[in-house]
Every structure is written in C-alpha cells, then in structure tokens.
C-alpha cells in the first residue's frame, strides 16, 4: 500500500457488483483472483474495490443507483456483459464511469478476452487428437462471451469436419453433471466435451467416472477457467488457462486511465492456451 493510500478518503472506491445465484459459491476463486489483480494496481493509487454480491441484475442496477446517489464509488467495473445489456446505459445516465470486463456495448471502455482465438485453440487441440464429435457444455446463453464462443466453435468445427453440439448450462455443478449425463445418453455420444468453467467440468468428470468411463481413454474432457479445482481433480483436468490476475490488472489500468480523464484504449487479455493435463487423449476406436 502506498503512503498516499492512507490519506485517501473512505470513498475512493471502484465498485464491482457480482450478480449470481447464492449456490454458485465455486465462482469465488475466479473472482477473488480477478479482484486481487484489480486491487494490486488500484492500491498503488490509494484506491480500493468495493465488491457487492447480489442475486440478480435488478438488484445490481439498484446498487448502481444507490452508489451514484451517495457518491460511494468513483467508477464501476462491469462483469459478465449480456446480449441485450441495459447496464452500461444505466451507468452512463447515472454519470458513473464504467470499464467492461469482457465484450463491450458500443464504445464503452473494455478489457476483452480473445474468446474466438481461445475456442480455436481448444478445437485445434481436440481435433489434433482425432476427435470428430465434440460437445460443449456452455455457460448461460444470455452472456455475450457464451454466444461468441458458440459461434466460434461452430465456425471452427465445420471446416475441420467436426460434428459439434452445444448445451447451455448455468455454471453450476448440478448443470454440469446433468448435461454430461444427457450427452452421454444420446444416440451418438461425443468423444470429447468442452466445459465453459471449472465447476461444471469437475462435475462432468465425476459423473463420467461414476458411469464407469475411463478418462481420458473413453472420453476426453476440457475445462475452462483453470483453477485449483481443475488442478486437484482426479485425474487433473486439461484446461484453457487465462491469467486471471493479469486480467484484473488490465482492468485496473483502464479504470485508472478513465479516472485520470485519459483516452482509454481497448485492452485485450492474452489468448488462452491449452494446459494439457490428463483428461484429453485420442478417442478410443469403438466410440468414433
């Protein structure tokens, strides 16, 4: 912490509202690391992150209105942008500067993830192993990055001769297990499944093991959002890895530039890479 930090007023905060169902507790490691990255950069300038966890977008918007009225935050970091997102407009009307973590709405300052490049890397990894029937258990379809990834998957699959199917989950372990069961029960089960987060992937892995499948010989699994859960799974999950701490630091830089009245350039997280562990392998011949 800088010495200056001690003299800052108690209101020198940047707000971040996380709207999520209470049962999605597993989201915490990802967001706490993201916030730690933001905080590390903000602390150098005596600023803090005010995190507020709510159940839905209505409560999120209510929080923005309250913060603007009481001048509790100087700026807002908006996470999980949705397809028809009204939140940037609300923040604009309230006069609260905003940086979007993800795909922006119009020309709102943003730090973007290269979802297209990351999906291509995931598909290339699985295709390289010989998989031709790939399924993906995605996050909620209302999220922009879910749609971006779905479009990227379908675009990459066709030319490679890959049959791709997408089922939308809600990031919970329950949906990961249920959708994995549905995929494996189908007439033509996939030989590889991609998951949009760690919780669903671990649940899918556990379900597949309960069904007696040998991982990765009978089924390949590829998780998103590398975390302790993925590294500690048995066998450890192959994942798409993003430097979440760095993502947070990039967001903080954009926030600080915005507060300084400087032009905020669009920043991009480095494209995610495949961290190969023990859940991806060539498909067994009787399944292909």
């Amino acid at each position: 912490m800088s010495r200056d930090g001690d003299e800052m007023s108690a209101t020198s905060a940047v707000g971040l509202v996380l709207a999520r169902a209470p049962r999605l507790l597993g989201a915490e490691p990802f967001f706490m690391e993201f916030i730690a990255g933001i905080e590390e950069r903000l602390a150098e300038r005596g600023r803090s992150v005010l995190l507020h966890i709510v159940a839905d977008h209505a409560a999120e918007v209510a929080a923005y209105r309250r913060w603007a009225r009481q001048r509790l935050v100087d700026a807002v970091v908006l996470v999980n942008p949705t397809a028809e997102d009204s939140r940037p407009q609300v923040l604009h009307e309230l006069g609260l500067p905003v940086v979007v973590a993800g795909d922006p709405d119009g020309d709102t300052p943003a730090v973007r993830r290269d979802d297209v490049g990351s999906v291509r890397a995931a598909v290339a990894h699985l295709a390289g192993l010989g998989h031709r029937r790939i399924a993906r258990v995605s996050g909620p379809d209302t999220l922009r990055h879910t749609r971006t990834r779905t479009a990227a998957l379908l675009a990459a699959a066709g030319p490679a001769g890959i049959d791709a199917v997408v089922l939308a989950g809600d990031y919970s372990a329950e949906s990961g297990a249920a959708l994995t069961a549905r995929l494996l029960d189908s007439a033509a089960p996939p030989s590889a499944i991609i998951y949009d987060n760690d919780l669903m992937a671990v649940a899918g892995l556990n379900l597949a093991k309960e069904l007696g499948l040998r991982i990765p010989r009978d089924l390949s699994l590829l998780a998103w959002d590398d975390s302790s859960l993925c590294r500690l799974a048995s066998p450890p999950l192959t994942t798409m890895s993003l430097d979440v701490h760095r993502f947070g630091e990039l967001v903080a830089r954009s926030v600080l530039a915005l507060l300084d009245g400087e032009p905020v350039r669009e920043r991009w997280c480095p494209t995610e890479t495949v961290v190969v562990r023990q859940t991806t392998a060539p498909p067994s011949t009787d399944l292909t």
């Binding site: 001690d6 507790l25 966890i53 929080a63």
Partner: protein
C-alpha cells in the same frame, strides 16, 4: 481467542465474555447453547433448510417446545417457512430456513498492511467486501476512528437498514496475552509498539460505533467461518490451517472453536520442525514459520535475481510486500515456473509435517487450507499435505481429509462476522465460557502469525 463483552460489563458489573461455538450439524443433539431458542436457531442455520420434525431430531427437544420456539423465531423475523419437503407418504412437512436479510454483521480483519471488511447476512454469507490500507504506524485511536467510519459506508453501499446490524467481529493476528496488547498491528514499526500496548481495541471500537464488538485471533476466526460454511462437514475434530503473512491454525472440536486457557491454542507456525533450525522471531528455534513460512519463501525468491525479475517481485519491506510477493510466487508456481514451484513445494513439505503433528495431537478428521496464501498457492500445497497425512498415526481408524477452503481469500473477515453473529444470536451456555482469568484484549506481536 476470546472476547470481552463490554456491554455486559456495563450491565452486569463484571467483565464477561461473549461465547461462541455451534452445533456441528443438524444431528448434534446435545446443544451447547445458552438458550433453547439459540439451539433451535443454530440447528436451522447449520441445516440450511429443515422441518420441525427434523428439529426435534436435531435438538432433542419435544414437539411442543419446537413448535413454540419456531413460532417465536418466525415472529421475530429470523426464520421463514420456505415450501415443503418431498412427500414421504404422510403429511407434507413445511421447511424452515433462516431469513437471510433479517440481520447483518460486519467482519473486520486487521492484518499486516491491509484491513479487510466484509458485510454478511444472517447466515454468514458475504454480501459486500472492501480492503483498505493497513494500520501502519498510526495512533490506535486513529485506527479505531478509521474502522468506525468505514462500517457505515459498507452498510450504505448495500442499502441495509443500520438497525439490522447485530455487531462487529474484529480479528487480527495473535498471539494473545491475558493483560493487553503487547505489540503493534503492523510489522516493522517497532518504535510504535508502545502506544498499542494495553490498548483496548475492542472496547474502543464498541464505544465509537455503539455496536457490540467481539474480538478474536484471525486463524481461529477463519476456522469458525469454515465451520459456519459447512466446510468441516460432520467432523468432530477439525482444523483450519491458515496461511497469511505467517502460519496459524484454528481448531473446531465438537462444533466449538477450541482456544486453550490463554487463547493461544493452534499456533501452528511455532511448531518445531527442525530442532537446530533458524531462530524464529518468537525466540524459539526451528519453528515452521521461520523454516518455511511465507517470509522465508519470499526471501529465498528475492535472493534469486533471475526469478525475482521474471515474476516481478518487489524489493519492498514489511508484511504487505511479503504477502504480495508470496502471491506472485504462488501464481508462478501454479503456472509451472520451475524455481517458484520448487520453493513452494519445499515450504509445503514443512507445513505438511507441522500439519501431521497437529493431526496426531488432536486426532483430526478434516484439515481445511485457508487464508490468502492458500487462496493462491493452495493447489501446490494441498497434494503435499495430503500425501503427508497418509502417514498420520490414526490412519487405520480414519483418514484425514485435506481440502481447500472455498473462501480462502477472505476467510478471517468472514469468520469475524460469524463470530459476532454467533455471540449475538446463538450464544453458548456459561459452562462453555473461556477462562475468567483472561483479560479483554488480544495481543498481536510484531511479525506474528496469520
């Protein structure tokens, strides 16, 4: 590891203590609570959702007693009915749960270099969190004013009626003395320590905020928070291993945090792992904190210029810089950076040895790794600790389950909030109070654990 109840002191004349501890699950039927209402409320909290019949089973109370107490809790707004259980052929049972928004609590973790605040609901679930720069070398009264000023901001940010706030849990690194604070709350400010000595931090904050304040050790608070979140399952002997700027542990035995007669139980950082090892700041030799604690790992990494440059270590002194650099080393280890990984794995071997010692002494069933250090490096440490615990003496009787906390990053602040929720809403009976000989303050020493 205890708390002075200044409010009851004012009311009753003698310095008392707030009490804490909770049933470990819905089936613990010898409830250690001060009142039957507290026992029922805690059983509902521990279960999540439960029927009146389930409460009879959980508490051992009669059906009319349960019916009466549940009605009171509903009238007070603390409990709500929430639909029906699956039919089992007979009459469908109405399920009860806590009314989460009925009450809120503030948890404050006064750590080296940073103060973390959380606001939780009645169930101990975090609704808001903010970190502010730490106490440094300021006057204790200034620190109290700053904490007191932050609390209304936190409440306003969430839009909660201040009348719903039950109190403040305030935790910081131990150790404790029976007489008062003997050190400062920030490492590297030795000359300032005198002004903290004997300063009644909890009482001062209680006076400034006009709210009940409960104080405790941060590792013990982390253990209570884990217990409230259900992280220990049904284990009757469990520990939270806390990795912050130092190493600590909190014990939960039969659903109650165990503090020892002076509040210093669970000082895992000062378990000896090398009889002729380096001198620890505490004065002893070969403490695991001196041999393999975060400051030692950071010092080793900084001594490797290539590594220090590659992962962006600071040259800064103080505990805050140590915490920041330890996090950077942990992230590098996770990415597979060879030198960072080797440093963490070596540290993990000693931490694992200390953990096995604790498990052997306490016959532990569950160990949860928590605190900001494990939030970052837990996946590197956990396999090593797990492996070591395979060799625990009790292995033929039961395994020791080693897990990562789901709220490792803010565990102490979350536990601090649980501390005040427990003491205000589900207090333990007098028989489980800590020793009356204890004084009213914690005593964080320079460079201490947690």
């Amino acid at each position: 590891m205890f708390a002075a109840s200044w409010r009851s002191a004012m009311l009753g004349g003698a310095i008392g203590r707030r009490y804490r501890g909770a049933v470990s699950g819905p089936r613990a039927n010898k409830a250690p609570h001060a009142s039957s209402k507290a026992a029922v409320l805690d059983a509902i909290r521990a279960a999540g959702t439960i029927s009146r019949v389930g409460l009879i089973d959980a508490t051992g109370f009669t059906a009319p007693t349960i019916s009466n107490l549940v009605r009171k809790l509903i009238d007070e707004g603390l409990v709500v009915e929430t639909g029906h259980a699956e039919s089992t052929g007979g009459k469908r049972r109405v399920l009860l749960q806590l009314n989460h928004a009925a009450r809120y609590a503030v948890g404050v973790h006064l750590d080296h270099g940073v103060v973390t605040y959380v606001l939780t609901d009645l169930a101990g679930v975090v609704v808001a969190r903010i970190c502010r720069p730490g106490a440094r070398a300021e006057e204790p009264s200034t620190v109290v004013s700053r904490i007191a000023a932050e609390i209304p901001t936190l409440i306003d940010s969430v839009g909660v009626d201040r009348a719903r706030l039950v109190g403040v849990g305030l935790v910081f690194p131990g150790p404790l003395t029976g007489r008062g604070i003997t050190g400062t709350v920030d490492a590297g400010a030795e000359s300032e320590s005198r002004q903290w000595r004997g300063f009644p931090l909890g009482a001062a904050l209680e006076q400034t905020t006009a709210l009940p304040v409960v104080v405790d050790n941060d590792a013990t608070a982390a253990a209570l928070g884990e217990h409230w979140a259900g992280g220990f399952g049904t284990a009757s002997a469990a520990a939270a291993l806390y990795l912050g700027s130092g190493i600590g542990a909190g014990l939960v035995i039969n659903g109650i945090t165990y503090r020892g007669p002076s509040g210093n139980a669970g000082e895992l950082g000062h378990v000896c792992v090398q009889a002729d090892g380096p001198r620890c700041w505490c004065g002893a030799r070969g403490c695991v904190e001196a041999v393999a604690g975060p400051a030692t790992v950071v010092a080793a990494a900084r001594a490797d210029p290539g590594l220090a440059r590659a992962i962006g270590l600071s040259a800064g002194g103080g505990a805050a810089a140590v915490a920041r650099d330890f996090a950077a080393i942990g992230r590098a280890a996770r990415r597979g950076e060879g030198r960072a990984l080797a440093l963490c794995e070596e540290s993990a071997r000693y931490v694992a040895a200390a953990a096995r010692t604790l498990a052997n002494v306490m016959d532990l069933e569950v160990i949860v790794l928590t605190g900001p250090g494990f939030a970052v490096a837990g996946s590197v440490y956990l396999p090593v600790v797990r492996q070591e615990l395979h060799a625990v003496f009790s292995r033929t009787a039961h395994p020791v389950d080693v897990r990562l906390s789901r709220s490792a990053a803010t565990a102490s602040a979350v536990g601090a909030a649980a501390l005040v929720l427990e003491s205000e809403l589900v207090p333990l009976s007098r028989g489980l109070r800590v020793s009356e000989s204890l004084g009213g303050e914690l005593a964080p020493l320079t460079g201490s654990s947690g």
